[in-house]
């Protein structure tokens, strides 16, 4: 039975189909799913396409930001309120990928993909999920990513997070060997709110350093309550690898990822990246 496409109107209907049919997957932009079909990796099952406008909603002007899961990287780039997310959005493929690649698809993209998700993780994002027949519920992105490998997460309707306070509070770095559109060796996102010159509530996230984007909690602990000086940065670099589990793939070896991560983290914290 070849792959089927089913068009449904509402999110709840789509979520119910996802819950009852293990072969069903939501179609986001399709940059990964259609590629899987082209390559013969996906030969059966159902792609669900929903036209629910909730997926394209963008609420970006206030302190609380909400982005529909169907929002594309190009839509993020076209939105001035989201300038702090432009670097991770611009890092995803070329322009013709970015017009198609959605935030929702990025949340499920296998490592080394997931650069935008890495940024969302450092923003302490939550996801609004429709799983099964029970309606919507909100879950921290970190928890959703931990559940991702098991499958059956459900349908993500949107992501929400607080807008970072200042221009320099949020930083993102993608390390790739091919510019401007190579796949990540790794990516790092850092949210560094300060209170009286000291970091308070730091969030550091890595992409391509584990099976899914992950928080660098040891680094966050090092940064907490300290000013961002050379000694703090050196201590952060020492803690950089804790909890990481990088893979060897066509882009880089596990060894290489471990070698370069502390260097790039140090540069990002020191504001030395362009």
């Amino acid at each position: 039975m070849p792959v089927n496409v089913r068009i449904v109107q509402g999110l709840q209907e789509a979520a119910e189909i996802l819950a009852s049919d293990r072969g069903a997957q939501l179609l986001g932009g399709g940059t990964l799913l259609v590629r899987a079909i082209n390559e013969g990796f996906m030969t059966e099952g159902t792609l669900l396409r929903t036209l629910d406008p909730v997926l394209l909603a963008m609420n970006t002007g206030g302190a609380r930001v909400e982005l529909g899961a169907g929002v594309t990287m190009a839509m993020v780039l076209a939105n001035r309120d989201l300038s702090y997310l432009h670097a991770p959005a611009r890092g995803i493929g070329g322009p013709a990928v970015r017009t198609t690649a959605t935030i929702g698809g990025n949340l499920f993209a296998a490592t080394p993909y997931g650069d935008f998700t890495t940024a969302l993780l450092a923003l302490d994002a939550v996801v609004t999920l429709h799983a099964g027949f029970g309606g919507a519920r909100v879950m921290p992105l970190e928890e959703m990513l931990a559940n991702r490998a098991r499958g059956g997460v459900g349908l993500v309707a949107s992501v929400g997070f607080n807008r970072p306070a200042g221009a320099d509070t949020f930083r993102f770095l993608k390390v790739a060997r091919v510019r401007p559109k190579g796949v990540s060796v790794l990516s790092i996102a850092a949210h560094l709110p300060q209170n009286g010159g000291r970091i308070s509530g730091a969030r550091i996230a890595y992409g391509a350093m584990g099976p899914a984007p992950l928080r660098a909690k040891a680094v966050e602990r090092v940064l907490e309550g300290r000013s961002l000086d050379a000694a703090t940065i050196a201590a952060a670099k020492t803690a950089a690898l804790e909890g990481t589990q990088p893979a060897t793939d066509a882009i880089a070896s596990e060894w290489y990822r471990r070698e370069v991560l502390p260097v790039h983290l140090g540069r990002l914290l020191a504001g030395e990246t362009s």
Binding site: V3, V5, T31, N38, L47, G93, G94, P95, A96, K181
Partner: protein, 160 residues
């Protein structure tokens, strides 16, 4: 699986087709509608030879399902020339030797058109970024960048 009806505009003409559910826009345009300008290269989103415009935005024909294009306006390189008059981008590509084997050219032209339609006066960096998803194995890219900048200049001169 039953074929699905899809209607869209292709280079200004209304077209109606029946497409397999997972048929890509590239296959529909080439096999179904006989427009062979967009090419099939990798089928993975990495080479850009299948680039077309969907409602003015660059999209990869090989990764776009036709059924998602209902009611959209599609442009390919076949629609660029106005009768015997080449589009400024096509003329600039010819003038500046930006096509050698020509396999990447339809995709490059559409990526460039998407840029110039949105940003008529791009910088070199913006041109490089606009064609970052398009691979050319022949030219070394420089003639293509020069051609796109020249076309922008020429279009600007025409408007002035």
């Amino acid at each position: 699986m039953a074929r699905m009806p899809v209607q869209f505009r292709l280079n200004g003409s209304d077209r109606a087709v029946f497409a397999e559910p997972t048929e890509t826009l590239l296959v529909t345009i080439r096999r179904g509608l006989g427009d062979f300008a967009p090419k099939f290269g990798c089928g993975q989103g990495t080479c850009g030879v299948c680039t077309v415009l969907v409602d003015g935005e660059p999209r990869l024909g090989c990764l776009t399902l036709s059924v998602t294009c209902e009611g959209r306006s599609i442009e390919t390189a076949s629609g660029l020339a106005d009768g015997p008059t080449l589009h400024p981008l096509q003329a600039a590509f010819m003038e500046h030797f930006a096509a050698q084997c020509g396999f990447c050219t339809p995709g490059m032209l559409m990526a460039a058109k998407a840029l110039l339609d949105r940003n008529p006066n791009p910088t070199r960096v913006e041109v490089v970024e606009a064609i970052a998803g398009n691979i050319c194995r022949c030219t070394g890219y420089e003639p293509i960048i020069i051609a796109i900048l020249a076309a922008a200049q020429q279009r600007g001169a025409r408007r002035a």
